[in-house]
Amino acid sequence: MMTCNQVIRKVDDILDGEEGWWVRLKFRMHLAMCSHCRRYVRQQRALREVVPEVDASMLPADYETLLGNILDSVLPSSDDKDSSRP
């Protein structure tokens, strides 16, 4: 029988599908009897669903300038190639 400590350390692996059927069975058996761990797993699932909702993309106001600066600093633009600079 798994202890509560073992259960909460296995939660993420179980939710990731990283554990085999035997560990999953012992995990389920523990959850069937332990309301604390059931609550923990329920909350952990909720958190795991919410964290990827955190804004993963941020565009600076002068995004095009930033992009241009990066490329201009190392790659010549076609305009640069064509223009005859002194």
């Binding site: 202890t3 509560c4 400590n5 073992q6 909460i8 350390r9 939660v11 993420d12 692996d13 179980i14 939710l15 990731d16 599908g17 990283e18 999953r24 995990f27 389920r28 959850l31 309301s35 604390h36 761990c37 059931r38 609550r39 923990y40 797993v41 329920r42 909350q43 952990q44 699932r45 909720a46 958190l47 795991r48 669903e49 919410v50 964290v51 990827p52 909702e53 955190v54 804004d55 993963a56 993309s57 941020m58 565009l59 600076p60 995004y63 930033l66 992009l67 600066n69 990066i70 490329l71 600093s73 190392v74 790659l75 010549p76 633009s77 076609s78």
Partner: protein, 247 residues
Amino acid sequence: MPGWLATSGGTWISLTVLPPGVAARAARQPEQGDGAGIPPGRRKARSGRPHGRHAASMDEDLDKLKAGDRQAWTGVLRVHMPGLVAFARRMLRDEAAAEDVVQTALANVVANFASFEGRCSVKSWLYRAVRNRAVDVLRRQKRWVIEDVDPADDWFDARGHWTDGPIAWDAETAAHTRQVLTAVEEELQNLSEVQREVLLLRDVQGLTPDEVGRILDISSGAVRVRVHRARRALRVRVDARLGEGAR
């Protein structure tokens, strides 16, 4: 309660109807589990090995990048820069410094891409460059704190049973979900840098453990351990905000 349909190939299809917004991010979502929180199968890798015509196209793209093709680089940077900027901003908690880091790191990558050996994806390579530059800045500012404590060490008695049990809160209603999201966004910023970077890369940017391992120069097993600890550390902070007086 989400439902699942088993296919003959051993995979599972979620019958859950995702609400708008969540569906749009479904590609980055971990698999849903059953009522007990147990998923029916392994989480799908977010990036697989390319094959066939796709692989040939990627090789062609790599050649263009190595040759310094401005158009090819513009395409790559347009795809990845929003994520890189978000990652750098959350790492540094300073908008201007983050943009400076992204600009310097990416210019360096573009300039030296001929030495790219293809051992990882271009995306991992870009994140690695930005992450290393951000860590340099944090170190200079003496803000790089290597603190990776597992809060769960204090949750149980000698027999491995809960001493108090988890604080009560739920995220089953839309209002609660918004509360949890707000708490997560704010408390992410209060994690130690080591825990924050691994959560940002794995859970927010959706990189695989292998990709995160290549970025941080650690094994994918070590990534999993760090991610699990970081999730528990985040959870403690979220618990404290959402569960005040609820125990």
